[in-house]
Symmetry: C2
Subunit: 160 residues, 2 copies
């Protein structure tokens, strides 16, 4: 597996799993009906660094972004987001992307990373904890999960 910066040409390969993940409405606090145009503007935003994971065949199997979580006097705290093709789960792609993005964030001078809204039922919570993130807080009943009903949103943090 190779992780590299994304180019515009990667978007058509990201969109199918991006759409599937957001439409499922189980892990992202974004409109499940987000159009491809809006999704592209959101994910491939020039203010963000965007990465893709390619498997040995050159297929794009995951993507991540890195940006500042705040501006001005708090711009040294990073934010990141991750999507892995659900058909490629269990292969360590999420972990590899996360390790890459954490290293990039540190190299670029960020002093910490915050995830603002991790759905507490998302299996990725365990991955983030194994990478050194802690749950700072849980916003109660903040996410209406299609199977679990109202669940909390974790604010997770790791120093860099």
């Amino acid at each position: 597996m190779q992780i590299r910066e994304a180019t515009d040409d990667d978007w058509p390969h990201i969109w199918p799993f991006w759409h599937r993940i957001v439409a499922a409405a189980e892990t992202y606090a974004w409109d499940p009906d987000t159009s491809e145009t809006a999704a592209r503007a959101l994910w491939m935003n020039p203010a963000k660094r965007v990465y893709v994971a390619e498997d040995a065949t050159g297929a794009v199997v995951g993507s991540a972004y890195l940006t500042s979580n705040y501006g001005g006097p708090a711009a040294h705290i990073a934010n990141a987001g991750f999507m892995v093709d659900p058909e490629q789960g269990g292969r360590g792609i999420g972990r590899a992307l996360a390790e890459h993005v954490l290293a990039e964030a540190k190299a670029r001078g960020y002093r910490g990373m915050v995830f603002n809204a991790v759905v507490e039922t998302n299996p990725a919570v365990g991955l983030w904890k194994s990478l050194g993130f802690t749950v700072l807080a849980t916003v109660p009943e903040a996410y209406d999960h299609p199977r679990h009903g109202l669940v909390g949103l974790h604010v997770m943090h790791r120093a860099l």
Copy 2:
């Protein structure tokens, strides 16, 4: 004092104190050099409801916005921001704006409100607590304050 929805004509009266507050870099995690154009796009964003407080002479002495803090399955949690002309402090303008915005949020169906980044040294923390907000978490060393150095950013929450 009267609180009403803002119109485009209010912006020139908001900008002087908006700029003064953000340039001071003590309470907002926004670029202190934010231009007027960028500030207007940020504050008078059509996705937000914007309010102003007028004193008895009709002068705009404060402003607030109300929006969703997240999208999709979490869009029932509100976010808000408040600015009061520093020359008009101690007159209860912030409290009046906050009570108005909390009532508006509840009337519009929001189930809770979250502030993502309240600088822990901001005197407004006491106001938010007196209005029923609790500090869910503090992101450590997240805000570089010009007098206090690195201080935390509170995530504050209130059910509606």
